[in-house]
């Protein structure tokens, strides 16, 4: 079932790119956390973490080349998580002031 046979070089190259992007995201989150950016500190660090997670899930865990069944199984946990958070914070999110 191996459609294409990547070379050693290609495999290592892709992993190095993944690693470099992850480290840059870590650096962005770590540096901005020490600068007062008023309301944006927490969103920046959470967005950086979300991109890191997505990169590892898509590239490292190969969701980009997985069958639909596996992608569905992967997304279910996240869907229940979103429901759990949304319902738990429904009062906090909808109350004005």
């Amino acid at each position: 079932m191996s459609a294409e046979q990547p070379s050693r070089r290609a495999i290592i190259g892709q992993a190095l790119v993944l690693w470099a992007v992850l480290i840059v995201l870590l650096a962005i989150a770590a540096v901005t956390a020490h600068i007062d950016l008023a309301p944006f500190n927490v969103p920046i660090m959470l967005v950086a973490a979300a991109i890191e997670v997505a990169l590892v899930a898509v590239v490292g865990m190969e969701l980009d080349r997985s069958p639909a069944l596996l992608r569905l199984a992967a997304v279910t946990g996240v869907i229940w998580l979103v429901i759990m958070f949304t319902l738990s914070f429904s009062d906090f999110l909808t109350r004005a002031g």
Partner: protein, 209 residues
């Protein structure tokens, strides 16, 4: 050798691999909810006590947490090479990358151990004699110990799984190329890395300004 990995009821290794990956993804979905409960508890408490949480979080060791995140990011890259290398038939490269991945994991545990030691020296264990005094600060540190502790247990299991694969392969007892255990262990390892990526901002970056 590759047939040795084939188990009932599958007719070929490809189907067995897909089934094993599906099984691991379903397990990881339950893990998302397991850790999700802790993240939810943390979030609810943080909304209730934002100032105290920021103050308590300032006491975590930024450099230790950051170094450990960099270590796990590196291990994600080596694990990616191991899984893809094994599939492409580069058994030697896959074995060495498995070994590197496990060693990086052990490095993480070592850093964490030193950090725990320093935390305890500073009186950051919730309960009588807690250094920061305030109740919400104790709640933050309660989450810190529980979440990082459970993560460390997961990582230790991952290290054992990865070392086992590397050693069995080195001794010629299993092949890695079509072995369903390879992608399954890879998925588990990446998930443990992902958990730390989520823990890092909540425990080490909050309240630094």
């Amino acid at each position: 050798m590759s047939d040795a990995a084939l188990r009932e009821p599958w007719e070929d290794l490809h189907r067995q691999r897909e089934a094993a990956r599906l099984g691991m993804w379903v397990f990881l979905a339950t893990e998302v909810l397991f850790f999700g409960g802790l993240f939810l508890g943390y979030s609810a408490m943080r909304v209730a006590h934002p100032a105290a949480f920021a103050e308590a979080a300032r006491e975590t060791r930024f450099w230790f947490g950051s170094a450990n995140l960099a270590l796990l990011m590196t291990s994600s890259a080596t694990m990616t090479v191991a899984v893809r290398g094994a599939r492409a038939g580069f058994a030697g490269m896959a074995r060495w990358c498995l070994l590197m991945t496990a060693l990086i994991g052990i490095g993480f545990i070592a850093v964490k151990g030193v950090e725990y030691h320093l935390d305890l020296d500073d009186g950051l264990w919730p309960g009588p004699g807690f250094a920061l005094g305030m109740a919400p600060g104790q709640i933050f540190w309660g989450f810190y110990w529980v979440m990082t502790g459970i993560h460390a247990v997961h990582l230790t299991i991952g290290i054992v799984l990865v070392l086992r694969l590397a050693l069995l392969s080195w001794r010629g007892l299993i092949g890695l190329r079509d072995n369903p255990q390879m992608p399954v262990v890879g998925l588990y390892w990446h998930f443990v890395d992902i958990v730390w990526m989520c823990l890092y901002p909540l425990l080490y970056l909050v309240g630094r300004t």
